[in-house]
């Protein structure tokens, strides 16, 4: 870590340990694959932006997709519509995403719990007994708040019911957060958005890869 700081002599904006990872990511993204988005990474959740996470997710995604391909080819359906196949791919991608979250977030647990069908529905609360391949500590939305004095957003008394309503709507969009409290939903949403962005980037690069190889004639 210290060597990295000395390498990048640029004046970094903030001086905490997260920023070195941030600077390192920026350098690597500028020189790497087409899947680099404009990632001005936030300090709060660097893990969804790191390349290592991207690699982990891509590997899991490819594995899951291979299984989907095998199952769909061996099934008897002679004309699987694009929708059912697309849905199977989407579910596999979501599952891979949830697994790479390592069980620390509500939405990932909810996605995986839905896959295990309704058998474990009553254990959906974070009891940690359900998820098979996960042995992590359950931390639901630990809000470590750095008290920032600059508040860009104003909540006045009038807008609290509106905010509540919209937070409920948001809670319905994020899987597994329909009945949670407001700060939990907000925290889950931040994590979920970053995970989704990574999913989109990974699938984009996969599509580019596959379509590039399919269009080019294979060398003999």
């Amino acid at each position: 870590m210290a060597s990295l700081i000395s390498d990048n002599e640029q004046p970094s904006m903030t001086i905490n340990p997260n920023s070195t990872a941030h600077v390192r990511k920026k350098k690597r993204f500028s020189s790497s694959s087409p899947s680099s988005s404009a990632s001005i990474s936030t300090e709060s959740h660097p893990r969804w932006r790191s390349e290592k996470q991207h690699r982990i997710y891509s590997a899991k995604l490819i594995q899951a997709l291979k299984q989907v391909r095998l199952s769909s080819s061996s099934s008897v359906t002679s004309s699987p519509t694009t929708h059912t196949r697309g849905k199977a791919v989407r579910e596999a991608a979501d599952r891979a995403l949830a697994v790479s979250a390592r069980g620390r977030t509500l939405w990932s647990r909810a996605i995986l719990a839905n896959r295990i069908k309704l058998k474990f529905r009553k254990h959906k609360r974070p009891r940690q007994t359900v998820i098979p391949a996960m042995t992590t500590v359950v931390t639901t939305g630990t809000s470590r708040n750095k008290k920032r004095r600059v508040s860009v957003v104003r909540l006045n008394k009038k807008s609290i019911p509106t905010v509540n309503r919209k937070v409920r709507v948001l809670g319905r969009l994020v899987p597994g957060c329909k009945k949670e409290s407001v700060p939990v939903i907000l925290e889950e949403a931040t994590d979920y958005i970053q995970a989704l962005e990574m999913q989109v980037r990974a699938m984009n690069s996969l599509v580019e890869l596959l379509s590039g190889s399919a269009s080019a004639p294979p060398p003999i």
């Binding site: 929708h83 697309g86 508040s151 700060p183 925290e187 989704l196 599509v207």
Partner: protein, 90 residues
């Protein structure tokens, strides 16, 4: 000794400041609101609305990409199978 004080602070639940902070964090993730992050205040309901829209967009993108991926996977299967077959029957 100080346990009681800290426990009461955490169990008193949701303060406005906490919610404000979370909404600020959310705003920094949104692509539209992030760039125009001047000092004028973006209302919380706008942030939440944009968040909902953004998540729906991302879901739609993922759906589209999954459909394309599924087609590509099917095509590469058949393309490779045809190729292998043609190589074998030569």
């Amino acid at each position: 000794m100080s346990g009681r004080r800290s426990r009461s602070r955490q169990s008193s639940g949701i303060s406005e400041d906490q919610i404000n902070d979370l909404i600020i964090k959310l705003q920094q993730l949104l692509p539209e609101l992030r760039n125009s992050r001047r000092s004028d205040k973006v209302s919380a309901s706008r942030v939440l609305q944009e968040t909902c829209n953004y998540i729906r967009n991302l879901h739609r993108e993922v759906d589209d990409l999954s459909e394309r991926l599924s087609e590509l996977l099917a095509n590469t299967d058949t393309a490779q199978a045809a190729l292998i077959r043609s190589l074998l029957t030569q």
